[in-house]
């Protein structure tokens, strides 16, 4: 017989934060696409929590809102809402591509960007693009708000800096410069319902045939997605026509090994990452050629 747990449904953010402040064993639940699986697979899950806190009605965590210099994506925004959003399609296509590649229609209808990041699987698809777009996460507790760069949110697989008394409210993405190219690549076992084996987010700001700024964030290659600074240095301030995808790709797999060391999966991940980097750069060159 499993332990009884309570269920709270809050309409007001303050009320939810107060509950979390009083009881740090409450588990927030939104779309439930990870949590319900965990509850089923982990016999002790219910032993370790006091209850579920349904946050789906919290308005402050909902919706995509365009501000003067940035866009807010609420933690409760589903992957399907990201896919359907015209403004995100136009300005953050790598994030839209990542959301479109997640799970299945049913999962995209329920799963949220907040949950994807808070669950913090190494293969979480949306975190790489969020880091590449230099998003900040707004965290709120009963005591107040704090801002953490998306790049610093996850500390190791399934572990974030978000405290038990905090909720992830939204992501704040700076508006990209006019000529920004963004691209997301993913390898899964099959097209639908595939856990990412390896992914890549590339965001480049282009001007006069040159790459001005660039972020390259591979996913599922390092314990936590992080920008590959060495790769970026080989792309930044270079003429796009002069970029050599194969060389940059080789540098990317070397940078990966410098972070992870040689692991059992390295012989697979090296050529896989190289392929994704090459694909993204070839697309960058095509876009630049057409301008």
């Amino acid at each position: 017989m499993k332990k009884d747990i309570s269920f709270y449904h809050c309409e007001e953010l303050d009320a939810a934060l107060k509950l979390l402040a009083e009881d740090n064993n409450l588990k927030p639940i939104a779309g439930g696409t990870d949590l319900m699986v965990e509850m089923r697979n982990d016999e002790n899950f219910q032993e370790n929590i006091s209850g579920l806190l349904d946050i789906t009605a919290l308005e402050e965590l909902q919706g995509i809102t365009v501000k003067e210099n940035h866009i807010n994506i609420g933690a409760l925004v589903t992957h399907q809402e990201i896919v359907n959003s015209e403004v995100l399609q136009e300005k953050y296509s790598a994030l839209v591509a990542a959301a479109a590649a997640i799970g299945s229609t049913q999962i995209r209808n329920r799963g949220t960007i907040g949950g994807n990041v808070c669950n913090a699987a190494a293969c979480a698809d949306t975190l790489g693009p969020l880091i590449a777009f230099e998003a900040d996460a707004l965290l709120e507790s009963y005591a107040g708000e704090r801002v953490v760069p998306a790049a610093d949110l996850v500390t190791r697989p399934y572990q974030t800096v978000i405290r038990d008394d905090e909720l992830l409210k939204c992501f704040r993405l700076p508006l990209p410069a006019a000529d920004t190219f963004s691209n997301f690549q993913k390898i899964g076992r099959r097209q639908a319902l595939a856990i990412t084996r390896i992914s890549l987010a590339l965001v480049a700001q282009i001007a006069d045939g040159m790459v001005k700024q660039v972020k390259v964030v591979p996913g599922s290659t390092t314990p936590v997605p992080e920008p590959f600074a060495g790769v970026e240095a080989r792309i930044r301030d270079r003429k796009i026509a002069d970029l050599k995808p194969a060389e940059i790709a080789a540098a990317a797999s070397e940078e990966m090994v410098s972070i992870t060391g040689e692991r059992w999966s390295t012989p697979y991940k090296k050529p896989a990452l190289e392929t994704l980097v090459t694909r993204a750069l070839v697309q960058l060159k095509e876009v630049a050629d057409n301008e």
Partner: protein, 158 residues
Amino acid sequence: MSEIKVEFTLNDNKESVVVPAEERLLDTLRERFDLTGTKEGCGVGECGACTVILDGEAVNSCLVPTAQVDGRQVRTVEGLAEGDELDPLQQSFIDHQAVQCGFCTPGMLMSARALLDKNTSPTEEEIKTALDGNLCRCTGYKQIVDAVEAAAKKEERE
């Protein structure tokens, strides 16, 4: 015992039920309402056999805590036919022999229904995307996609 009272609309009927916090919508439908058309396949959101329509969207009922559907609308495969008259999708599945063992069929129908309720003339690609969370291990997908396409055309004509 912490139990949660949930009031929701199930196939156009107002229903009320008391459930533990962790109870899955799938179990509530099958065990408390005897709506056994909704199937449990994998139980982890990968096969789509348990698909129902929640507020117009196809969802895996194995991943929805019943406590979350308070005030919401749930439609199951039992809610498709009107009396003796089958939903055009159901008839089309029969006409196109899109059913073999039948275990995946309720989930397929609900995913397809959710699509056609929003998009009356989907492309083949849109149909495949709508069904990307539904696995079939015997019929093969061609007849299923054909059945949805034909039903969409029929509904559009009517």
